[in-house]
Amino acid sequence: MDHIIEIEHLCKSFGDIKAVQDLSFIVKKGELFAFLGINGAGKSTTISMLCGQLKKDSGKISVCGNDVEHNFDKISRKIGVVFQNSVLDAPLTVRDNLRSRASLYGITGKKFEKRLSELAELLDFSDLLSRPLGKLSGGQKRRIDIARALLHEPEILILDEPTTGLDPQTRRLLWDVVNTLRKENQMTVFLTTHYMEEAADADYIIILDSGKIAAKGTPLSLKNEYAGDFITLYGIEEASVKQLGMEYEALRDAFRISVPNTAKATELILSHSSLFKDYEIIKGNMDDVFLAVTGKKLAGGSEK
């Protein structure tokens, strides 16, 4: 699989603050790549450098084989960016906004109308075309932001916290569209998010902490490495659970026992088979991984 984004030893400081420190990673073509981190971890700074908006201090950023600093003209036609906040013109209608942006890529006239109708159908905003962007709800605006990023059919879609503050229905729609485009067009998606369930669907995850890579891997490998398993045990007395000598948590009608990994869980079950009549083993989730890696909790955009 091609390396569509390559970042090597990337550094960026603002005065004394080291926003990004020696960051190196690759993104493969067609994958969903997730960047996790609390506010200030360096995610948006990295994206700004990736999009040619911010000058790096040192290191190398290559997109589709082109150096960002010297060949951004070539890169700009291959990337579509959904910024954290809408950067479209609030007083203009949706159609005018998309027309003005499409023309930047040479998409005009009938070509534009065709692309507009495709995107309006895909993102379900045909009824919003004549409305001023500023009058739309947050979810509606987000759909237009995504349409703008997809106007020129980019190879890479960069999503900077795209679903923060969105209702579940719009989040679902957004991900359905992104997944469809990934399947049909082999589009690569570079995502930063605060939502762990979104990161859990990624092909590869990097967790940033204070501008450095704190952990990286597939969701499974991260869970295996940083989050233990949980055995939920039903229909048993607390005294019996205590006999296991493991850390546990009492639920309404069950007990949840923490084990370091699946092998340990299996060992525990086999050695106390009489107690394990009704149970389930669940792997730790990305929240547990994040907490284990950074010592911090993430919940919908804020550090806890």
């Binding site: 999009c51 040619g52 911010l54 960016v81 910024f83 479209l88 005018d96 930047l104 890529y105 040479g106």
Partner: protein
């Protein structure tokens, strides 16, 4: 080219969508005209009448027209620049709202964006300054019309070039601004000071020689004199027809800056126009170049 055309269209649409900005820009020259007519017209008239050569009488219509032409020429000279500063805010708004980020990730060149901002701002400013010019011409017609068709065409050309000059100058200054507060502060300073610097509020012939020499290096001075020359050609011709001696005509022209002297030499209107056009080309070039060379942080 399509991208540039659409950038200009987008910028113009945004300008006219902000009705408060459009109407406040439009109404400013009209308010100034009313204030001039109300408070300054009679003072100018009395002042002009008091310096007339002995033995020469001037009809009221000619006197009124002289004063009104001088006032409206000054007003237009100031407005073409100050209105440009008021209407040339989109570039700053795009920075403040971060909309500029959307253009930066697209293939559009910085220089194309700069030209887009420049033309849109010039077009919106021209609508306002030509409206002000139309009102001024109507006002002149009510007081005494001595302009020829050629004079009107020259004045239209002067307003056009002065507006482009104001747009280019404001573009160069606004390039460094990133918030509407900064833009507002600069607009206030320019509105307050430009009229004095270009010799519109007070003819620079009233200033000390040292200050006059400094002001002669500013292109705005030539713009004001140029528009004043074209606006007042008709009344001067009428004065000469009425028997004004040549020395008196030179005195009047010197007194209201229709004659400008650089290093002791009189500057012709052709040279004034050349300075103005050169300044437009220079400042527009600087603005485009600054955008072209702009580096990310």
């Amino acid at each position: 080219m399509t991208g540039l055309f659409n950038m200009i269209r987008r910028n113009l649409r945004l300008f006219f969508k902000d009705k408060g900005l459009f109407f406040s820009s439009l109404i400013t020259p009209l308010i100034l005209l009313v204030l001039y007519a109300t408070f300054l017209a009679n003072i100018y008239k009395d002042s002009f009448a008091s310096v007339l050569p002995q033995g020469i009488t001037v009809e009221d219509e000619l006197l009124n027209s002289t004063v009104v032409c001088q006032l409206t020429a000054s007003l237009l000279a100031v407005c073409c620049v100050t209105v440009a500063f008021c209407s040339n805010l989109l570039m700053i708004n795009d920075k403040a709202n971060k909309n500029i980020n959307d253009f930066k990730v697209s293939p559009v060149k910085n220089s194309t964006m700069a030209v887009g901002y420049y033309f849109a701002s010039a077009a919106s400013t021209l609508i306002i300054t030509f409206t002000a010019l139309a009102v001024c011409l109507v006002y002149i017609a009510t007081q005494g019309w001595y302009l020829s068709f050629a004079d009107v065409l020259f004045v239209i050309g002067d307003v056009f070039m002065l507006t482009l000059f104001g747009t280019a100058l404001s573009s160069c200054i606004n390039f460094f601004l990133s918030t509407s507060g900064q833009a507002s502060a600069v607009g206030t300073i320019v509105s307050a000071g430009y009229g004095f610097l270009c010799g519109a509020y007070m003819p620079i012939s009233n200033f000390s020689e040292g200050l006059q020499n400094v002001l002669m290096f500013l292109p705005g001075t030539y713009g004001t004199s140029l528009i004043r020359n074209h606006m007042m050609r008709g009344v001067f011709a009428e004065m000469q027809a009425c028997g004004f001696p040549d020395e008196a005509m030179v005195g009047i022209r010197d007194g209201i800056d229709c004659n400008l002297y650089f290093g002791g030499n009189e500057v012709s209107t052709g040279l004034m126009a050349a300075v103005l056009i050169g300044s437009v080309v220079l400042f527009t070039g600087i603005f485009v170049l600054m955008n072209k060379l702009k580096k990310n942080r």
